[in-house]
Each structure stands twice: as C-alpha cells, then as structure tokens.
Amino acid sequence: MSWQRGLIYAILLVFAAIYLVPLYVMLTTSLKDIEEIRQGNLLALPDSPTLYAWSKAWSSACTGSECQGLAPFFWNSVRIVVPAVIISTVVGALNGYALAKWRFRGSEMLFGALLFGCFIPFQVILLPMARLLATLGLANTVTGLVLVHVIYGVAFTTLFFRNFYVSVPSELVKAAQLDGAGFFAIFRHIFLPISLPIFTVTLIWQFTQIWNDFLFGVVYSGPGTQPITVALNNLVNTSMGGKEYNVDMAAAIIAALPTLVIYVLAGKYFVRGLTAGAVKG
C-alpha cells in the first residue's frame, strides 16, 4: 500500500470517527442510568450498562395518555412509508427517464418548474393541503398522508433520476427502439439495470425524508395512525422536567433503526462501472 492510499484510509477513518461521535454519545447515554447521566461525563463509557432505557422506550414510555412506548407507532410509520417511498420512487424514475431521454417541447420548462416548486416552504402548504385532503375525503387517513408525501417527494426523485439519466448515451435508447422496445420496455430493460446506484440514493433520500417527517405526519395523521416521529417527539418533549435522557436517546436510535437497515441493505447496490463498454465516442 502506497503512502497515498494510507493517507486516504486515514482520512476516511478520521471522518468516520467524527461522524460517529454523536452516535457514540447517544448510544452510551442510552445505556447509562439517569444518575450517571446527571454526573455529566458525556464521553465516558457507562459504568454498568443497562438496557432499561431501551425496553422502556420500546414498550412502556408515555407518549400521551398511553404508555406503550414506540412499538405501536412503528407499524403506523411502516404503513405510511412503504407505499409512499415506492410510489414516489417509481414515479420519479419514470418522470426522470421521460425528461432525460424523451424530450419534447417544454419538457425542460416543466422540469425547471417542478424543481422550483419544491422550494415552497412546507409550513405554508399545511392549511391549503388540509383543505384539499378534506375535499378529497382523505383527511386524517393513511392514504392522504401517503399522497402528500408522494406529491412533495416526486420533485426530488424526478431530479435524481433525470440528472442520472442524462449522462446515459442516447444511442442505447436508439438501439433499443430498433430492437422493438417501446417506452416502458426500454425503461425496464435498459435503464432499470443501470439505475441501481441512483435507486439506492433515491430510496435513501425518500425513506429518510418520509420516515423522519414530523410536520406532515403530525398534521395529517389521525389518532391511532400517528407515525413514530410524532411518538418520539411526544416522548422526548416534556414541559414538566424529569427528562429521561437515556430513554430519549434509546428512542431516537430505535426510531432510526429501519432507516439504518435500509442504508446497509441498499448500500451494496453501489456497484462500479455500469455503463462501461456500451458505446464508443
């Protein structure tokens, strides 16, 4: 290994360490008891690690008048996130593909408008959207929430895919057209297989955005369909004091676990050199 590679490894590892510090703080805190936290040495390892905070966060912490921990809300989130992520990603992929390789008059304009539209602050759309959902009969339903996430996620998924697909040589589309493939067949057979990295990125983005979304989740959910972020927020927020930092931290990690799992699973689809050898020039 040359010294350059050594340096690269060193840099990568140093940054990994820096990135890990907050996680470390959260993890160790979640394993300490509240007394130890009060004594206040943040970076110390727990004296006597306990899983008390974890089990409390999962199954018995109060998030309102109910004290069932995060568990029931976890599944609410899954019911919202899975369809929303899938729909917005698929729609984004198709949009991006159409915008990158099937340009028509005004398609660039459309894309620009879509991008600009996503700079609208979400706070201001809360009320009109609530009205719209009520008109559609979707107020405070999971379907309504999924719809909202799809609408405001599609601009980004489209952006990711479109900008990935513009650098795919157009010759491939031409060749496939001659092979008798239509719009969807080309997408399915030519573009999907080279899209793994961008699918990974989009999935990560959408999953994180929707899983971690609080604003839409709190405003458009009904009682009993609240996502986990709302529960987490309820769990950690108290005006009365008596903050249980260890439970808060455990709850945060639990709430983030699905996202982390997705990252790990999706990560392996970052593969090298997907278009190599396709065309010359």
Binding site: C62, G64, C67, L127, A130, G224, N234, T238, S239, M240
Partner: protein, 393 residues
Amino acid sequence: NEVEVLHYWTSGGEAKSVAYLKERLTASGVSWKDFAVAGGGGENAMTVLKSRAVSGNPPTAAQIKGPSIQEWGELGFLADIDSVAKANNWDGLLPGVVSDVMKHDGKYVAAPVNVHRVNWLWANPEVFKKAGATIPTTWADFMVQAKKLQDAGFIALAHGGQAWQDATVFEAVVLGVGGADYYQKAFVELDMDALNSATTEEVFKVFGELRQFIDSNSPGRDWNVATSMVINGEAGMQIMGDWAKGEFGVAGKSAGTDYVCVAAPGTSGAYTFNVDSFAFFNQSDAGAQDAQQAMAKEILSTEFQEVFNLNKGSIPARLGMARDQFDSCAHDSMDAFVASSANGSLVPSFAHGMAVSEAVSGAIYDVATNYFNSDTSANDGASQLVSAIKAAM
C-alpha cells in the same frame, strides 16, 4: 360516545394526569381517543388544531388557554357547555379571573384544570448560608445578595437561555419593579402611556442587571437543568413557575429545609397566574356532544382536580378543596391566590399566554430575549418593546 382530545401533555406527571382523566371518563362510559402532540409549549399542537379546523374536522376538545380561547370563540368554532356549568355551579366554584377566561360571549366554552403561580423564586438555603447571604425580597436586595453568592464562587441565578424563560424572568421583574397596577396597565391592557413611562425603562434596567448573575453557558439550557443547578448547590436561585417543584421532588428534596420557595423579589403580595384549560369544539354528532359534556363535568370534579394538581405541582382551579394533600409551597400559592385576588394584585402571566394575544406576547418575547442576550441599553430596550407591541397589535 367518544371524545377526541388534542393536548400536549405527553410525559411524566402530566401524562399521568391525563391518563387519570381518561380513566375516569372511560369509567363513566365515554371512550377517549388520545391525540397527543407535544413540543414547544403546545406550538405543534396548535398547528395541528388549525389544520384540523380548516379541514372542517376539529377534535372534540383541545388544550387551549388564555385569550386564544376568545379568538377561537370569535371564529365560531367553540361549543357551548353552559348547561354543564350551570348544573354544576361553575360560577360559584371558579374565581372570577378564571371563569372569565373560560367564557366566550358570556357562555362557558372551556374548562380549567389548574392554576400555576409563575412568580416564584427558588433558592438553596445551603448555598446562601455558605455565602453569608440572605434570601432577597426586593430587586435592590437581590443585587446585593446575588453579588455575595457570586463572590463566594456560586452562580447566583440559575437560568436557561430560552425565550420563554427570559420572558418568565422579565415578567417577574415587571411585577416586582412596576407593581401590579403598572403590570395590568402596560402588559395586559397594553396602555401606551404606561408602556412609555419611566417605569418601563427602570424595568429594563433591573432586568439588564441580572445578566451579570447568570453563567455564560446558559443559552439553550432547559429550565429543569437550571433547577438541578440549584438542587445540587451549584447555583443559589432560580426564578421559575411552580412546576419547578417537581424537580426538587424527584431529587428527593423537601420544601422549607432543602429548598425554599418564596415570591419573586418585590412580588410577595402579587400573583401571576397561568391556567391550563380544555376548550370544546362544535360537534355535529349528538353522541360526541354528550361525551363533551361528560368530560367538562369530570374536569371540574374534586377528585380529578386533586389528582391532577398533585401530579403537576399547581393548585386546583376550583375553590373549596381539601388542602391537606398539598405541600407548603402549594399552600402558599393558594393563600396568595385568594389574597391577591382580593387586593387586585392577581395578574395573568404574559409569559405564559394568559394576558395578551399570541401576537403581542410573541413580540414581548422577542424584545425580552434579544435584550437579555445582548448589551442593549435599557432605554433602547424600552423603546423597542413599545414599537414591537404596537406592530403586533
């Protein structure tokens, strides 16, 4: 029969209190649909409430307090529960200042659960002893004693640098320096003459002097962390509402010996109150209306008032309750409540949204917190306050 209740009491003693209410209602055949949204003193909950209202689907009841009840009433969202009130003689049970807030157009639309006193000074006698200081009763004295504490190596005033805490201290200074009349005129009625008077500048001067007694790490600190500084003897005092008692309790400290609760300097006869309440929203469904009434009735029951307030550290909103379960600080609070109400020094807390509209209290927050965290002069502070309040009215 079902009530859907939007509230922001989600943890600790508050959650237990709500759970108790739920239990009682369930026992009386009303099922409870919990709609809890915590965060930022109800900010998120209010956002949700507004969007539900706009979409034509408001909850049965929501935790709303102070002048906001009137605003919702103006907009025509609130349900009339006068029949329950009449049947249970609320007018007789509730002090006038409280019942006024609960009514819109002379009809009850909300039910109060508690009364908080905000103008408390919490002190650690151990620290005072070590520093050879005494607990101050006026602001002038405060400066002297605080200096002693500081010289002895303690943090004189434990404080969390968040806007609402700054406002809480500011409010105590207003009341202590200006007195109840000034407070009422300037910060409740928003009388411009009072606001433009020299008293305002004096208030800012005192408030500004407090900066020096606070440690530099305070910005962003949660109030309970500040309280624990008093508890473990790092700091001498804290100005905070009666909910701070809970922290001392959790730490196993007892009032009078391990800590003392006295009125904030210069406010011993006066009382800034903060009342939590549930407002009821119009329902088309008859079952829901019945449930609503049952809930209103339950809230004012002695059992609920007692359990709830023991949990939360406040005093019951209704009068004539047994006091023996409550501690000495609560007794003080109850006495002061009655006394101040009699002599006209019972004032609503503007730092906790009881006195003025949200717009104005927000403006006061901004000025107070900005002033406290900068080295603006008292004069400038006062004029900023006036113009900010004008702009928000």
